[in-house]
Amino acid sequence: MKRANDLLLKAVIKVAVLIILTFSINLFFSGHHHPGGGFIGGLGVSAALILLFLTYDIETVTENLPFDFKIMGAIGVLIAVGTGMGSFLFNAPFLSQTYGYFHLPVFGETELATALLFDLGVALAVIGSSVTIILSISEDE
């Protein structure tokens, strides 16, 4: 993607991406009780990344974010399947989720659910696959 060196756009995007990323992470964690979740959170992150790719060129972004998004997606799928397999260790059927309340130092009384791990897998898979698709298409001359 060849694009004019638009200073204004770059300045705005720097802030906007930060906001989008924060919002996405918030969406991801609040998914348990409020609107949000892994899928939306993941899509939000990839939307932020796409914005970066659109504004700056791909080389700059990949230099600063040296992830292989294919591997990231694969890790996500593995985490999701892995949490499913984890149920076997507790003699429970595939993909059984559970939750509990714990007292954590900063957050106080917090609910922790295994579903969050699964959701993390979903989020990573969504980011990995959407960014992979978009990068592959845009890198093609």
Binding site: P35, G36, G37, G73, V77, F94, Q97, T132
Partner: protein, 804 residues
Amino acid sequence: MAWSWFHIIILLPFLFAIVVPFLYKVFSPRIHTGWFVLIVPVFLFIYLLRYIPVVSTGETILLTAPWIPSVGINFTAYIDGLSLIFALLISGVGALVVVYSIYYMSKHREALHNFYVYILLFMGAMLGVVFSDNIFVFYVFWELTSISSFLLIAYWYERQRSRYGAQKSMLITIFGGLSMLAGFVMLSMMADTYSIREMISQKEIIDGHTLFLPAMILLLLGAFTKSAQFPFSIWLPDAMEAPTPISAYLHSATMVKAGIYLVARFTPVFGGSAEWFWMISSVGIITMLYGSITAVRQIDLKALLAYSTISQLGLIMTLLGLGSAAIYYGNGEESAFYAVAILAAIFHLINHSTFKGSLFMVVGIIDHETGTRNIRRLGGLLTVMPISFTVALIGSFSMAGLPPFNGFLSKEMFFTGVVNSTSLDIFGMDNIGALFPVIAWVASVFTFIYSMILIFKTFTGKHYPERLEKEAHEAPTGMLIPPVILASLVIILFFFPNILSDYVLQPALMAILPAFVETGGIDIHIEPWHGWTTELYMTIGVVVIGTLLYLTLRKWQGIYRFFSPEGRLNILYDQGIVKMEEFSLGLTRRYMNGSVRSYLVYIFTFMILVVGGSLLLSGGLTFDFTNDAPISFYEYGIVIGIILSGVLVVTAKSRLTAIIALGAVGYLVSILFVIFRAPDLALTQLVVETATVALFLLCFYHLPEFKKRGKGVGFKLSNLLVSLGVGVLVTTLALSADANRLFEPISSFFEKSYELAGAKNIVNAILVDFRGFDTMMEIVVLMIASLGVFTLIKLRLARKDGEE
């Protein structure tokens, strides 16, 4: 029902195969990978030997491990005389072959890890076949043997002949395997069980059933293709492209005998009927004759052995067919008279593995040390390779049926079985039964001739070193050990056959003819000499006529120009493959025309026809608006907006307009979600829509010029019809679904998300917990799709099409 050590033992080769590549990586080429692999068959053999005393008392062992218990598929290991003989052959010959391969396969040049992984795969699959009692588990292992055989034949895959042979064997044996599966399904329908043993106990029900004959024919197709019976035998000679240890192991000693095993295993189910008797014995005797006659004309030593294997397999088949008559007579003396054939079949099965295994190994040695297997170039190796000569002599004479080798004993028993069968007065045998001894005798004469060709054309006569690619010398000791062991077994079995008969043959016989379990088996006493009987005269005739014909071979060899059924069959096969490929290519080209529009038309038309058709036929097309909420002003507005944007997408003159209009549709839909108070959906829709529009804009550069192709009326009309059809269908489907309540809605379950999943957000609880499996599969699909896009773009190969 529990997993036992025995199940693990059966699966041991598979488990060991996992570590083989690592062993290869670490130790090669310092230590030959074969030495590690050798542990498996040796251990198996010793472990299985312990079962001989148990099984020889007539006891059988049944061990069931749950595999998919919900559909009645369990990994049931059934140990009886028959399965134990096969298992001992698999592990015993397997151990010898691995030793042999250590010297045959160079550790510097060959991809040994592949080789041994395939061998172990085969070994495990074959053990699975002989021990499985559940027909579906049996089938899985059966096909695994075909697949591992395919891999092994194609081991030197850079050779065109290897690939050809591998494909041929795979196509033929898998075809047989599939028809066997169909036969199995019919059997399970008749007997209402998946267990072979229980089928045997329900013989009466199966006998009278209308599916009896179809099931039998399908099952026999499996056996005949696997055991290379005429006319399916054409794959075996081409399978000789495999490395010689493989030919010795799979294509003479074990895998090709799986068909024999299948027939023997199902003899108690089908035996005693005329169809079973005739189909097996006639196919067997034709195969025997065809194989032995064709073997004589071969000039490649391995091809000669291949045809000889076909012939010997036919011999064993014939015996199993003839012996099945014993079931008709129950367990009396008359029955025992015909049961000799079954006994001869099992005995010859073992003998064949010993002498044919040693012969294959010797031929491998000749190939390895001289560089050729062509009879015309070989000769006079007697002085150069004395030990190989001795082994070959023992093997060939045993194959020819001469004393003092075990082949003589089983050949005599074969004659006994065939002669006994002439006194049958059932199945119409009284009319043409006399044909069997005649054909068997003629086939034996040819067997004698090719055995002599094998030994004398190779080892006697004049030695021509200049015709060989290497300077001939005797093989290294390690390579000679396995054939020498097999050759000594050939002699030992001649002198002490009754060790075998008490401990192994008797229980195997009871497995094939269960009626004899009550009487404790039949009186088996194998002796080389039983007076001047018909069998002995037949053998003497074979030797005399065989010697005469061998000496005058040159004079009558010419007749082979007029006798070449294998050539015709191969042409038929090759033509069939070519025609089939052409046909399916033509058919596929017809509808896979490369246009996305056509594919969408197929998909949507199909959807309209199937879904709409079933909606109409099932009478589900009813509407009920009484419970619906009133439609608000905003909703009207948004829907009108959606419709307008939709029309704009279709009528837009530029692509950019179309993309933006499409985005508008999406955003309006997400506003609709907001109105219906579904924030999760709305959020997702918004983000997805944003990403999609971004994607479209990215693709913008790559898409061809925005031209409406095929502006004909027909084109537009079909577009209109399909899109209208889909719209109408989806709308009516949604309305009808609302009007029909077939069961209580399940939404009340999801409402308990906080109690069940600890989540106040129902949508999220559904996604990650209640329907977590769906989500998991979705992200897998997503990942696959993205990798697909990646590979399509990055590894694009089809540039030469010039469509860019």
